[in-house]
């Protein structure tokens, strides 16, 4: 539990240092150090685990860069870059088991990659052909939610359902289920998140609140959201809270895996603040030069999460150049596939959206659908006649 004593300094825009309170097991020097309760999680990571995380991080970044380019070329209406947050997303999601359920925000491409969702499926949403894109049940990974914080309540309800189903705290960790929900620093101001913390706390829901504090909610620095470090929020709800270096994939994994284990064991929710940095714009419609110091961005480049893991893999002989080349080639192939796939994504006819408005027949929808079909038929006939 966090120490709530005394007023906390207000973090201002331009202050970029990762706070000393943040747990860090893989510092920028590439040497893993661990101690305390998280040591077993750190030490359990095999070379394969670390290579797998590296791969997901690189694929996410390559895909993200390609998607940004595709938006610039008009293939996507919008893109929401995840660059810089790969360690937070991939590290935390690697703590999940197949039976767990993840509720992402909308920037969590690394979470999707780690859950096995084909990243190309996210294009349905940003190209404007579909509001979803993938089957939430196929990989136990919910759709993106754009109304900031709304998904925290869905995750909480789902996690309360886990308790009702006696699907946690059975003593069998291979079957026990946990839930994780992702959101950003801006969402901590939303009523929905605060209500989710209340509901999760009183119900001891098996839920991990994973806050990626990337320092900015579009243009507003975290100092516009909170008087206290964000991870202090959990204490008032009776939820154990911890702050972690969000650019340290090992720490993000270890802290999240421990929290998920606690959740599965019936010990209730945890709040994690991953202190990271949004290296890109909020979206492709955003211009961060209007509100962010370029010096800031430069100094965070030195903390790049992928470079840090790569250094560790090299220093520890867990990977060689061949491996890095293979992952790069896989990333390039993903980018090529993404480019080819996006152009083939066509919006289904409006008929399907009439059909999807309700699960059961609705006379008004049926009437409007009939009217629209008649109009459309007549228009096509007229266009044919005009030719």
């Amino acid at each position: 539990m966090v120490d709530m004593g005394g007023p906390q300094p207000v973090r201002t825009a331009g202050s970029v240092d990762v706070p000393e309170t943040a747990l860090q097991f893989l510092p920028p020097d590439g040497q893993v150090r661990s101690a305390g309760p998280y040591a077993p999680y750190v030490e359990s990571l095999t070379a394969d685990d670390l290579r797998s995380m590296y791969r997901d991080m690189v694929l996410t970044r390559k895909f993200d860069a390609e998607a940004t380019a595709l938006q610039r070329q008009g293939e996507l209406g919008l893109w929401v870059p995840s660059i810089g947050q790969e360690a937070a997303q991939v590290g935390s999601a690697h703590g999940l088991k197949p039976q767990d359920f993840a509720f992402p925000g909308y920037r969590d491409h690394g979470v999707l990659a780690s859950r096995g969702v084909d990243l190309v499926q996210t294009f349905a949403h940003t190209r404007g052909v579909d509001h979803g894109g993938w089957d939430p049940r196929e990989h136990n990974c919910h759709l993106y939610t754009l109304v900031v914080g709304a998904q925290t309540l869905h995750a909480t309800g789902y996690a309360i359902g886990v308790v009702k189903d006696h699907a946690c705290a059975t003593g069998d960790p291979t079957k026990d289920e946990a839930v994780i929900v992702y959101f950003g620093d801006g969402a901590t101001s939303e009523g929905d998140l605060n209500e989710a913390l209340v509901f999760a706390g009183v119900n001891q829901a098996p839920l991990v609140f994973f806050c990626q504090n990337n320092q900015y909610a579009i243009s507003e620095p975290t100092s516009r959201q909170s008087r206290v470090p964000l991870f202090h929020r959990g204490a008032g709800f009776g939820i154990p809270s911890v702050q972690v270096d969000g650019n340290d994939v090992v720490a993000c994994y270890a802290v999240t895996a421990a929290a998920l284990d606690a959740a599965r064991a019936g010990m209730g929710p945890t709040f994690i603040e991953a202190f990271t940095y949004r290296m890109g714009a909020h979206t492709t419609s955003d211009d961060p030069t209007r509100y962010r110091d370029s010096h800031d961005a430069e100094s965070w480049k030195a903390l790049d999460p992928i470079a840090r893991l790569r250094l560790h893999l090299t220093l520890s002989d867990h990977a060689d150049q061949n491996f890095f080349d293979e992952v790069d080639a896989e990333g390039a192939a993903l980018a090529t596939r993404a480019r080819e796939a996006v152009r083939k994504l066509e919006a289904p006819p409006l008929d399907s959206f009439f059909d999807l408005a309700y699960n059961e027949p609705h006379p008004l929808v049926a009437e409007e659908h009939t009217e629209w079909t008649a109009f459309e038929t007549a228009r096509l006939e007229l266009m044919g006649a005009g030719r």
């Binding site: 979803g132 309800g157 989710a196 209340v198 408005a357 609705h362």
Partner: protein, 347 residues
């Protein structure tokens, strides 16, 4: 004035009535009985809301259910409306059938994003992969002398949102049946309960669900020849009282209980208006952008050559709901309805 509440199912097949137990129940007790049936039949139902457990709800609609079904299924939630609906969405994603109670109409707005932007849209957003069978019960309407925010009629907001269904019983029999049908429906449903009618009692046939009208269908609750009066929820009784008075003056009013505001059973209204040529719509909600406006537009289109008069509306005014000691002037009462009937007949 004493008014008999007609049995809305009088025209339906009652062949099975031999198996049916009849009880005299208030609307509140009838919904309670319907909830008990739904909870018994469907183990995945959970009731969740403020004071629904130990207290049995501020109107006692969930009275006794905690004792019967336990705190795992009858849940006193924190005081957070968005939290109630938002967590219901998550429970529904896990296979539960949540029945939420929002304590009063005016308290539903804190949950508006979760209802309108989340619950209503997830089926469509997910390409039909997710269904959200969530029922949100809301006591609504005025006439009980309540303080502010306790007397409103927000149905138009929800009817305006694709993905939601909005139904409202006006009789104990419908309360009993419709709550069970709502629980079994797979789309999200706003179940609006006319709180001023909670204490109206009538004979309710228990069991025998096959005789129930489908959700979404209107019912002719008083047949007539000269003019059609459409009402729903708390206004049905007002409409029937007006029809009775008008009948004494030789005017035959056909009263339709809409029962559902989304969808609206336009076919039933059209069928009636084609015979009567005149239509008055009554509801407590403000008439501006209200259900009556939509009915007027659609019926004018469907029955243009049958109409002898413009479609008239009687309802609330474009003002915040007035203080309780002035609500009688705001609510559509028998006099205002009679006035509208007379106006429609003057063309």
């Amino acid at each position: 004035m004493t008014v008999t509440i007609p049995d809305t199912t009088a025209n339906m097949d009652t062949a099975q009535s031999g198996q049916t137990e009849v009880a005299r129940l208030s609307l509140a007790k009838a919904i309670n009985a319907g909830l008990r049936q739904a909870m018994t039949r469907h183990p995945k139902t959970v009731i969740m809301g403020e004071d629904v457990g130990q207290l049995g709800g501020v109107f006692r609609v969930t009275d006794g259910l905690l004792d019967s079904f336990g705190p795992e299924r009858v849940i006193d939630t924190p005081l957070a409306e968005a939290g109630i609906v938002g967590t219901a969405i998550g429970l529904a994603m896990r296979g539960y059938l949540p029945i939420c109670e929002i304590q009063f109409d005016g308290f539903v707005y804190p949950a508006l994003d979760q209802i309108v932007s989340q619950l209503a849209k997830l089926h469509s957003r997910s390409g039909g992969r997710l269904t959200l069978p969530v029922v949100i019960r809301v006591p609504y309407g005025g006439g009980i002398g309540a303080v502010e925010h306790h007397s409103e009629s927000p149905e138009a907001v929800f009817a305006h949102t694709a993905g939601l269904r909005v139904v409202t019983p006006s009789t104990p029999q419908d309360g009993y049946w419709m709550i069970q049908q709502a629980v079994e429906a797979t789309d999200p449903i706003l179940f609006l309960e006319p709180k001023a009618r909670y204490w109206d009692a009538a004979d309710v046939r228990l069991g025998e669900r096959d005789a129930a009208l489908p959700l979404g269908k209107a019912a002719v609750v008083a047949p007539g020849r000269d003019i059609t009066l459409v009402a729903y929820g708390p206004s049905v009784r007002v409409g029937l009282e007006a029809a009775e008075l008008a009948g004494g003056e030789g005017v035959s009013v056909e009263v339709i209980d809409l029962r559902s505001v989304s969808p609206i059973d336009f076919d039933a209204i059209e069928e009636s208006v084609r015979r009567t040529g005149r239509l008055v719509v009554v509801h407590e909600a403000p008439v501006f952008f209200g259900a009556g406006a939509e009915i007027a537009a659609r019926i004018s289109q469907r029955c243009f050559y049958n109409l002898e008069a413009p479609v008239l509306r009687v309802g609330g005014f474009h003002m915040p709901y007035p203080p309780a000691r002035r609500e009688a002037d705001y609510l559509p009462d028998v006099d205002r309805v009679i006035g509208a009937l007379a106006q429609a007949l003057s063309y």
